[in-house]
Symmetry: D2
Subunit: 338 residues, 4 copies
C-alpha cells in the first residue's frame, strides 16, 4: 500500500501515518522526494486492509493499493489450475465443457426434449432455471421447486449433471440436494449472505460476474466461497454493462486471459446473456473458446417463439447442434477439444 502525502505535509503528519502502519504490524519505508513524501507499507495482508485507514489521516493526498484485495482465488495463493468435478464432468481441464438448456424450466416435455437434444449435440451438462430473478414482479418467476425436481428427473434419465440458479439463502439446502452445480447469478454476485451459505455446502458452484463488477471484485467475491472451504468454484463471464446498446451486454473477452493470469479458477462464458439475441451467439461462443475459456453456458429452447423467458437469445436445438460442430475446429486450433 502506497501512501502519498500532500506537498508540504508536515513531519508529524508523516509520523502519524508511520505509527498507524506500525500499529497494524506493517513494515514501513519512507521515500522522501524533493516534492513530496511517499510512504510504502509492506506486509502480506495489505491487500485486505481498507485504504480508508490512511486516507483519513491529515496530510494524506491519496492511498494506492498494490496488493490485490483477493487472496484465496489468486494464482499467488495457488499456482496450478484448479479443476472442478461436477457429477463426474471435469471443468478446467483440456476438454471444453458445453453446458446447455433452457433459460427457464417450463414443463416436463420442454425440459426432456431439450435435454435429449443438447446431449445428442455434445453438451455435457444440462442447465435450466427454476428460480428466476426477473426485473419486474409481473414477469414469470420460474417453476421453483417443481422445476428443480424436473431437472433431477432429466438428470437421471439422460445421465447429465445439472446446473440451476439459487436466489435466496432459504433455498440453498433444498436445491443443493438435487443440483450438481449451484449457480449464483450476476445480480447476486455481491449477495454475500448467499455466497457464504453456498460456500458452506461444498457443492460445485458457478459464480457469474456481476454485470458491473470489475475482475478484481469478482475474484474477491470468489474468496467468500473459497473461505468457507469450498474449492469447487467456476467463474462465468456473461457480459458487462457499457454504453453500447447493439448487444444486451458487452462480453468482456479480455477477462478470460486476465483471469488466467491472476487466478487458478476455471472460467466459462455465457454468450447468450451477453448477446441478448441468438444471431450473435455463435460468433461470441467461438471467440470465447479462442480466447481460452474452459467452457460455455448456452441457452437452448425447443421452440424459442413460445419461450416464457429470454426467447430472443435462445438457440433452437438444431442451431445449437450446428454451433457445437463449428466450435470443434476452434477448440482444436487452441489445443483443446469439445
Amino acid at each position: 500500500m502506497i501512501v502519498e502525502m500532500k506537498t508540504g505535509a508536515s513531519r508529524p503528519e508523516v509520523d502519524a501515518v508511520v505509527e498507524k502502519a506500525k500499529s497494524l504490524g506493517l513494515d514501513v519505508q519512507l521515500n522522501l522526494g524533493t516534492d513530496k513524501t511517499v510512504v510504502a507499507l509492506l506486509g502480506s495482508n495489505t491487500g485486505q486492509l481498507p485504504t480508508d485507514i490512511f486516507e483519513v489521516l491529515p496530510g494524506v493526498e491519496s492511498v494506492t493499493r498494490i496488493m490485490k484485495p483477493y487472496k484465496l482465488a489468486s494464482r499467488t495463493f495457488k499456482k496450478a489450475d484448479s479443476v472442478v468435478d461436477a457429477g463426474g464432468v471435469k471443468i478446467g481441464g483440456q476438454r471444453i465443457v458445453v453446458m446447455a438448456g433452457p433459460c427457464a424450466v417450463e414443463s416436463e416435455a420442454q425440459l426432456m426434449e431439450v435435454a435429449e437434444k443438447v446431449k445428442a449435440a455434445g453438451a455435457l451438462i444440462l442447465r435450466g432455471g427454476a428460480y428466476k430473478p426477473r426485473s419486474s414482479p409481473f414477469s414469470f418467476q420460474g417453476m421453483k421447486m417443481a422445476g428443480v425436481e424436473l431437472l433431477q428427473n432429466a438428470r437421471e434419465r439422460f445421465g447429465l449433471p445439472v446446473i440451476t440458479e439459487v436466489v435466496d439463502t432459504a433455498d440453498v439446502s433444498p436445491i443443493a440436494k438435487y443440483a450438481d452445480i449451484l449457480q449464483i447469478g450476476s445480480r447476486n454476485m455481491q449477495n454475500f449472505s448467499l455466497l457464504t451459505k453456498i460456500g458452506k455446502t461444498g457443492r460445485p458452484v458457478v459464480l457469474k460476474r456481476g454485470f458491473s463488477c470489475t475482475v478484481t471484485e469478482w475474484l474477491t467475491a470468489a474468496d467468500y466461497l473459497l473461505a468457507e472451504g469450498n474449492e469447487q468454484v467456476i467463474l462465468c463471464e456473461r457480459g458487462i454493462r457499457t454504453f453500447e446498446d447493439s448487444a444486451r451486454f458487452s462480453l468482456d473477452i479480455s477477462s478470460i486471459p486476465v483471469i488466467k493470469k491472476f487466478s487458478h479458477l476455471p472460467i466459462i462464458v455465457d454468450p447468450s446473456h451477453a448477446a441478448g439475441h441468438f444471431s450473435l451467439v455463435p460468433a461470441m461462443a467461438r471467440a470465447a473458446i479462442a480466447a481460452g475459456a474452459d467452457g460455455l453456458l448456452i441457452e437452448v429452447h425447443p421452440n424459442p417463439k413460445v419461450a416464457l423467458v429470454d426467447g430472443a437469445q435462445s438457440l433452437t436445438p438444431s442451431d445449437f447442434a450446428r454451433l457445437v460442430e463449428e466450435l470443434k475446429p476452434v477448440a482444436k486450433a487452441v489445443g483443446r477439444f469439445i
Copy 2:
C-alpha cells in the same frame, strides 16, 4: 410496443406478428411504409410484456418498448407525490430530511456520541449499519443483531427514528421489529427475494439504486415492494459506476428531476458513498438539494481516523454541523427548509 419488420419481410411473417399480438389481447395497428412495415401493439399492459415474444418471430428486425416496464411506481399510476412516515418523520414533504450516523455501528459509546451530535446539528433520523455487505470476506462484517439492538437503544434515548440495512431474507423479521426504516443496499437492489420479503413487512424502506442500474430498472425494482402492498418506499440515489475515477461513484444528479417526472416516490441522496471522500460531500449535498432531493443520507463518525468501515467518506460531527448550516440557505432557495 413497436415491432419493426425487416426490409422485405413477407406478408405471412407480418401476419404471424399480428396473430401473436391478438392472442395476447393487444390492439394491433399496421403501418405500411414504402421501405418497411412497422406494427404498433397497443394495450395497457405492454410495458410488462417481454419484447422477446416478438423478437424471435421470423422477419422481425427489432422491437421497441414504448410503455415503461414499471407500473405502481409511476406517476401515471399515482399522480400526487407520496409522503412516507417513518416514526413520525415525514419524507417527501416540504421539509428536507437529513439522516446521519456512522457507516457501521461499532460500539455503544461510538453510536451514542454520534446520535447525540447529529441530532443537535439537525438530523431527524439516525443511520447505522449493523449488517455490512463487504466486498472481501476478510473485512469487518458488522455487529449484526447486537448492532441493531444498540440502534434501538439510541432511538429510545434520543427520540430519533433509525434506519439500518438488511442483507438476508432470514434477517428481515427480527430487524423489522426494531428499525423504523429498512434499507436495501445498492448491491441488493435486484435481490428480488429480499425485496418481496421486505415488501410484506409494510415497514418504510429506503431502496438504494443499484450502482449500475438504470432509473427504469430502479423503479421496476420498487414495483416489487409496492406490489406487496407496501407504499412506504423511499428511493436513494448513491452514485453510479462510470469510467471516471476521481470520486468512488458518479452521483447521477439528473436522476432527481427524472424521478420527479416519472414517479410519485420521494427520493433522497447519499453523497457519502457517491463521493468516497469527505472533501467532496458538502458540494454534492448542496447540489442534491438544489436539484430537488427530499432528503440526504450522510455518514458521520465521531473519529473517522479509527472508523472500522469507510472512514474516508465520513464527516466529523463538527463538519456535519457546519454542513447542515450551509444547506439551510440552499433549501430555502428552492422553497424548502431543513
Copy 3:
C-alpha cells in the same frame, strides 16, 4: 511512480528497473517486503513519464502513477484561482456568469431576437454555433463564416461578448478575429492539433470535457493550451457517457469540486447538452451552481419548435428568464451572485 515487482522477481530484474530509473534522473528507493519488492521512483517529472518504460521490463508486475500527468493546469503549479477576462466579463470570480444563446445561428432575425432577450434576462455572454459538428453528414452543418459574422453583429449591437465553436485548425485564425471566446467541443477535447493552434492565439477558450474523458485527461488536455502560453482557459463540464439513458449524458456533478481541488482553472457547466431535454435543464443548472460552478452555458431559442439543431434541449426566452430568477437565490446561498 511505484513499480511493483512480481513475487519472486530476481535481483538482476530489480537492478534493471533501478538502472533505468537512474538513467532518467530519478531518485530510487527500494522497498523490500517479505513477499515482494516495490520500487519507488521519485522526481518532479514522473507525472509526465509514460509508465510503459517500466512495464515492459522483465519481472515487473505493475506500475502505478502517483504524480498526476498534468502540470500547468494543476493547483500545485498555481495556487490561486485563475480568472479569465473575456471581452470585459470576468469568469472565475464571485459573479456567476451565464452564457446563453442558440445551439446554432440560423438567421439574423433569430440571433438578434435571442441576443436581446437573453441579455435582458441576465446573460453576460452570447453563445451561438456557426460551425456545427454533427454526427451525420446529412444534418445541417451550420452557417459557418456567415454565422460568425452575425455573431459579430450581435456583439456590437448588444454589447455582449460572444463565444462560438471552432472545429478545424484551418478556421482558427478567421474565427479568432471575431469571437471573444473560442469553444473547443467535447468531440475535439483530444484533437491536439486544434488545441495547440488555439493555444497560440492567446484568446480566451472554453474547453469542453470529452464525454468519455476523465478529469485527469481533461486537465492534461488543458495543458496543451497552457503550454502555448495561453492562460485564458475555462473548463466546461457537459455530461459524460454512461449506461443511463434517461438523460442524453450524465452530468458529472462531482467534477466541479474535484476540479476546484486539483486545478486553478474556472469551470462552467452546460446543462443543456447534458440533459438533452429542456425539462431537466433547470434542476441541473441549480445543482451546478450549488456545487460551485463559476458559470453556465445554456441553449435558448426563440422558437424551439422550429430549431434546426437540438430544439428539444433549448429553453424559450421566457423559460430562460424564469430560470435566471430561480438561480439568483441559489447563487446567494453559496455566497455568490448572478
Copy 4:
C-alpha cells in the same frame, strides 16, 4: 420514427405532430390506444431526421427512432461485402490481413528492422505512427513528415503497403501522397472536418472506433467518408471505455458480428491498444479472428523496452511471429486463411 404522446394529450396536440410530419413529406399513421396515442412516421429518410423536431412539440412524451441514422454504410444500402484494395492487398476477402509495425516510427533502423521481420512473419501491411496524438503536450509527438518519409522508404524496400495516422486537416494531402492507407484515430472518429477531407482523397482509410462511441455512431461517421465518394473504408475496433481496469480498454468483441449484420464494410481489430499490455494481445487476436474479423492491426517493436510510445503493449518480432503461427489454425477453423 415513433412519436408517443403523453397520456391525455389533446387532439390539437396530436394534430400538430401530424401536420409537422406531413410538412416534411412523411407518411403518418395514427395509433389510438386506450391509454395513449402513438404516431408512426414513415418515409425513407426518417433515419436522418433529428428527433428534436417532434420532441419539442407540446403533448409529446418521447420520440423513438426506428430507422438507423446511417445510410451509405448500411447493408440495406449495399448488400454485398465491400472489399478494399490497399496497394494490392485486399481487405474484406477470405484472407485475413495482418498489419503490423511500431506504434511510433522512431528511426530508420528501428523501422527497417521491424518491417523486415513482420514481413517475414506474415504481415501484409506495415503500420507506423508519424503524427502521434498524445494525451500530454510533454510526451513525444512523433517524427511527423520525416516519419512518413521513412515509411515510404520501407514500403519501397520491402514491398509492403503502409498505413499511418493523420491528425490534422492540414496534413491530409501531403500524407495521402505517400501512404497506402490513411488512419483516423479513435480520438478523431468524430472530427468531421478531418473525415470530410480524407473522404475527398479517395484513398483507403481505416476508421478507428471512438473509444466511447456506439456502433451506430461509428457507422454514421463512416457515412462522412462514403458521402464524399470514398468507398475504400475499413472499420477498426480498438476497445471501448468501460469501468473495467484490468485492460486499458474493453475490446467489444460483439461489435464484429454486429458490424457484419448491419454494414457491408470490412472490419479489423487492434488488440494492442485494447489490451494495453502485450501479455493479453494473443488471446484477443485469436478471439477477433474467431469472431469474424477481416484483419488485425498489431504493434510490434524491435525492442519494446526502449520504445518511445506504448512499449508495454508492443510485441517483440519473435512473439509476433509466434502469434501469427498460432492464428493460422484459428483462421482455418472459421474457413479463412492468413
